[in-house]
Symmetry: C2
Subunit: 251 residues, 2 copies
């Protein structure tokens, strides 16, 4: 197989930057500029080794990091390919996964892992309510066009939505159900965003490797009076598929 002609990557042996890093950044640039398109094959370790007179280790490291950062994916026995661009998720509006996916023309779905009534002191404390209250706990693997994207664990105050655990959330939005079946309108939410690495459980569910980068989010949702907490959600989003956007203003 011959190297793609447009892939003449600038490698500067006099630079203080390591060669693998230059190679990685050059390939990123090709991907971001659209010179390499989603699902197009990228050169193999051996092709990079031969074309740039670098060691196999150097080529491997560049490709491994591009994979870890979500720029490429590997297909067993077929080589490496450019990944789909990450899903851009705005951090401004309180939206549900279902709404987010619909806006992108993707089909939202879920595999419901747990739907039960629980007590949880830690959640009660997060919401600032009495520790005696019960929650409907709903744990869902969220799918976009059938592909696992996030693991979402929601705790709803049961007194506001008794029987919620009896609904089938495979194809149904939680927020629509709250509004349509219980007349609950949501107002605002406080959200925290952290980086973490996937543990074994999460990796298996989401189809990534243990140790893969993940966006971990925590949300407290309030009713439209702006004061009554109704929901606590913990979500783990695939770091290779998600990118968050926000607009900052100067004070």
């Amino acid at each position: 197989m011959t190297m793609n002609r447009k892939l003449v990557l600038p490698i500067d042996r006099g630079s203080p930057l390591p060669i693998y890093y230059q190679l990685k950044e050059a390939l990123k640039q090709q991907i971001e500029s659209g010179a390499l398109k989603p699902h197009e094959r990228v050169p193999s370790e051996r092709e990079l080794e031969e074309a740039y007179h670098i060691s196999r280790m150097t080529a491997r490291r560049a490709l491994e990091e591009l994979e870890a950062e979500g720029y490429i994916y590997r297909a067993q026995g077929k080589g490496s390919f450019v990944a789909e661009p990450k899903i851009r998720q705005g951090l401004l509006w309180l939206t549900s996964f279902t709404e987010d996916m619909r806006e992108r023309g993707m089909r939202a779905g879920a595999r419901v892992l747990r739907a039960e009534v629980v007590s949880d002191e830690r959640v009660a404390r997060k919401l600032g309510i009495g520790s005696g209250e019960e929650f409907v706990m709903l744990q869902r693997l969220r799918l976009a066009d059938g592909e696992p994207m996030a693991l979402e664990t929601s705790y709803l105050r049961r007194r506001f939505c008794p029987g919620l655990e009896g609904h089938d959330f495979t194809d149904r939005s939680l927020y629509s159900t709250l509004q349509e079946e219980y007349g609950l309108r949501l107002g605002r939410a406080e959200q925290a965003v952290e980086a973490k690495v996937a543990d074994g459980f999460e990796a298996e569910l989401l189809g990534v490797k243990p140790g893969a980068p993940m966006l971990s989010m925590e949300r407290i949702t309030y009713l439209d009076d702006g004061q009554t907490p109704i929901e606590y959600v913990r979500s783990i989003y695939r770091g290779d598929r998600y990118k968050l956007y926000v607009e900052l203003k100067r004070r």
Copy 2:
């Protein structure tokens, strides 16, 4: 050494959740509720093994994941201790690292790794300007009370701030310098947030292990006319020390 009496952790052997996971979550709860305080010692693998009749592997995995998630840190030969809570960073106002740290009563500092004039097509494309323009590129390891927190690489359009590379940014805010020396007022910024894992270079600079979770941010900053891009910044923040906050509104 005896186990701390308040640490009677609820482990349910009938639960579908793995034991290591229950142990990890129980320890997290102790840390978040303040029952275990920053820099307090947490039980060792051996102590957990004996107290809960679990395998050493199970205890190790719980502690390893707590460390990876930034809840505890290990001191060679001394054991594991509760980490400082993460620094909460709001995602609303366009602020500098210096301003953020000052607000928290911490001293901001920097180790300047590079300060030079460069051309960079990729940056020009991100800013939507001609590829012929030069940038002042400033790469800084950002310190809070002397501890490395982030690696920040800024590209400023040179035509707006010629000679900027000549200033010493060890103890000086870039944004204050732009305003005071060049009369440039910043207006707003677009920021992207992603999760990634530390590569070898970043890990060494930031004092974390390769593969540690990191928050990767990209920012395009505009002048106060809201339209003229002035800066492109790429930052890598330690995921074990940073947590981002944002308020969401219902549309």
